[in-house]
């Protein structure tokens, strides 16, 4: 278990070995680590899909919030997302369910209510579905008598941006290493070197 602050401090410590007068703060490093983690998670999806043919994410990357209230509005029942959502394929960013033993509700495209009205697919096999709009999740209108529970469990994929930097995160060790490397690349001096255009073309010496 590790915190975002710990990873940020590691990045800062390594940067200090190369330069002592850097104005990069610990907070900068924490934010950079969070952004790097999000990017790596999305990249991993495509790599896993290409190499293994697998679709989905490791469970260690999901954070869980219990007893999140379901609210009512004129647009239907909804819930607030407890953190910033990641943009990942196929609705993997958010899972919601009644409890950990029950089946997760089906993630749907945002226009589901209008698109599927009156079609047989609207029944969703007797299951409940939801779709995300901004920072809220709305439950789908299905023809059955399904109603959402009062409280739900929300699982989100690596929602590090809104998590307290001092909260423990179950990020696998290999992923921690990759995050640090990505951050070092971002702040590293080599990336800030200005290209010398007078020497980049050996064939143009005249």
């Amino acid at each position: 278990m590790i915190t975002a602050r710990t990873i940020g401090q590691q990045v800062l410590d390594r940067l200090k070995k190369f330069t002592s007068d850097s104005d990069i703060t610990e907070n900068d490093c924490i934010i950079a680590c969070q952004q790097a983690l999000s990017t790596i998670v999305v990249q991993d999806y495509y790599q896993l899909k290409r190499e293994e043919g697998l679709d989905g994410y490791d469970g260690s990357l999901y954070f869980t919030w219990f007893d999140q209230p379901v609210k009512d509005s004129e647009h239907g029942k909804y819930f607030d997302l407890p953190a910033t959502i990641m943009s990942v394929p196929h609705g993997y960013a958010v899972r919601i369910m009644k409890n950990l033993k029950s089946r997760p509700y089906i993630p749907l495209p945002a226009g589901f209510n209008g698109m599927a009205t009156g079609l047989r697919v609207q029944s969703l096999g007797g299951n409940m579905g939801f779709y995300i709009l901004g920072d809220k999740g709305y439950f789908a209108e299905t023809p059955g008598l399904l109603t959402p529970p009062e409280n739900i469990v929300i699982q989100m994929l690596a929602p590090v941006m809104d998590v307290n930097p001092d909260a423990y995160m179950a990020i696998p060790a290999n992923l921690q290493y990759r995050v640090i490397i990505e951050c070092l690349k971002q702040f590293g001096v080599s990336d800030q070197l200005v290209a010398d255009e007078t020497k980049d073309d050996v064939d143009n010496k005249g």
Partner: protein, 232 residues
Amino acid sequence: MRKLDEVIREIMISMGMEATSNKYLRYYQLGIQALDITKTETAGADYYKKHKKIAVNENGVVPFPHDYEDYLYVGICKGGTMVALTYSPDMCPPMHDDCGELQRVTRDGSTWYYGDSDIYGRPTESLSGAFGYFKPYYEGRYFVIEHSGIEFDSIELVYKSQLYEQDGDYMVFPYDVEVIRTYILARLHEDNVMGPVSQKQYSQHRFISEKRKARMKNNPIKPQDILNALRR
């Protein structure tokens, strides 16, 4: 029978994906399409045949059941025996009265029924007419029923139904599961514009093959069929 939802989830898991992804919607839609195909092409002769006793309204019409698709037999139960009503294409549509209610159809020349009838409702002992007449009106989703003298308050309707539903889901006959799986694969390969043509042809071939096998399993040969073939 199994639920389509179960079949779809098994397919998604077997393909190495999470059944909690929003691809479920697409797979479920493909599953419904595959079910339509199994219903028309592989189902057994009586898989979607339903029998219902339905009351005749005061205005002489019988509404279609909610899952009605086409009728196979319309009759009444008389003395423990099913007696068919006769399809009458020349029956007028029912008129509306001043209150907008449908009026019972009565025709001149309708005669009493005096004897037995065959399975098609034709009289076998008397030439005086049928027990009663019916005509389906699809626009209003009802049958118009006319009796020939003896009143009856309900009909026996044997009809072809839509897909079976349970708990908001559609039901799959066991031999059709593989047809649904191969149909979904064939469609996925077909829609993949970058995929090789051989893969598309192979998956299409598998779908057709599974469809043929399911049709044979759902309609097994009975001893009577063999006898009929030998006597030909």
